[in-house]
Symmetry: C2
């Protein structure tokens, strides 16, 4: 059986970081790419009025995405990586620490389970 990737879908509650700061959020995603060994190919950051930031980093191995709700101290975080050279858990662990989450609901999936043939 061949598998293509791993995906962490995480809801982070009670975050102590400044969730309304797009530079902080993008920098955190970039650091997460670095520690996990991912190769960045594009970035997209958006600051919504008055509250909320979206930061997405496209990597050669899929993507990282974070959407924040500062008014609820909440972040919806996705770390999806493919291949065997990138460690998505390293990225996830860095981000949960950077965001200062006090409660986390995380689901980890294998993506792309291919049949043998």
């Amino acid at each position: 059986m061949k598998t293509l990737g791993r995906h962490f879908v995480a809801d982070l509650h009670g975050c102590t970081a400044n969730l309304n700061d797009p530079v902080f959020l993008m920098t955190a995603l970039e650091r997460a790419c670095e520690v996990s060994g991912a190769t960045i190919v594009d970035r997209s950051g958006h600051h919504f009025s008055p509250y909320g930031v979206t930061a997405v980093v496209i990597i050669a191995e899929s993507h990282l995405a974070a959407h924040t709700w500062p008014e609820f101290r909440f972040v919806a975080l996705d770390v999806f990586t493919c291949g065997t050279t990138v460690d998505p858990r390293a990225a996830f662990d860095l981000l949960r620490n950077e965001l200062g989450a006090s409660r986390i609901e995380v689901r980890e999936f294998v993506r792309g389970i291919l049949p043998d043939d």
Copy 2:
């Protein structure tokens, strides 16, 4: 109980569409945004050599992302929308049809379940 969003995490196998065509893939995501009522704020598309396309559309209500493996006729699709005005199922249904998937593993999540207070 308040919830913030809905997320379809879908693995699409046996796709008959041309998965190595970045224009097709981005156009499909844009159409999915249209039918679901989402507002596009940015796009990022990448064509990897020799095979594979990534298309991500950032919407005001979160994001849509598709990563393709043409050599396996496989697409990893995410449709994540927030708020009550966007219907992620409409986007997902359009994309599964456009991609011509013959087998789908889909998980649907509620994101951002906030405690009452």
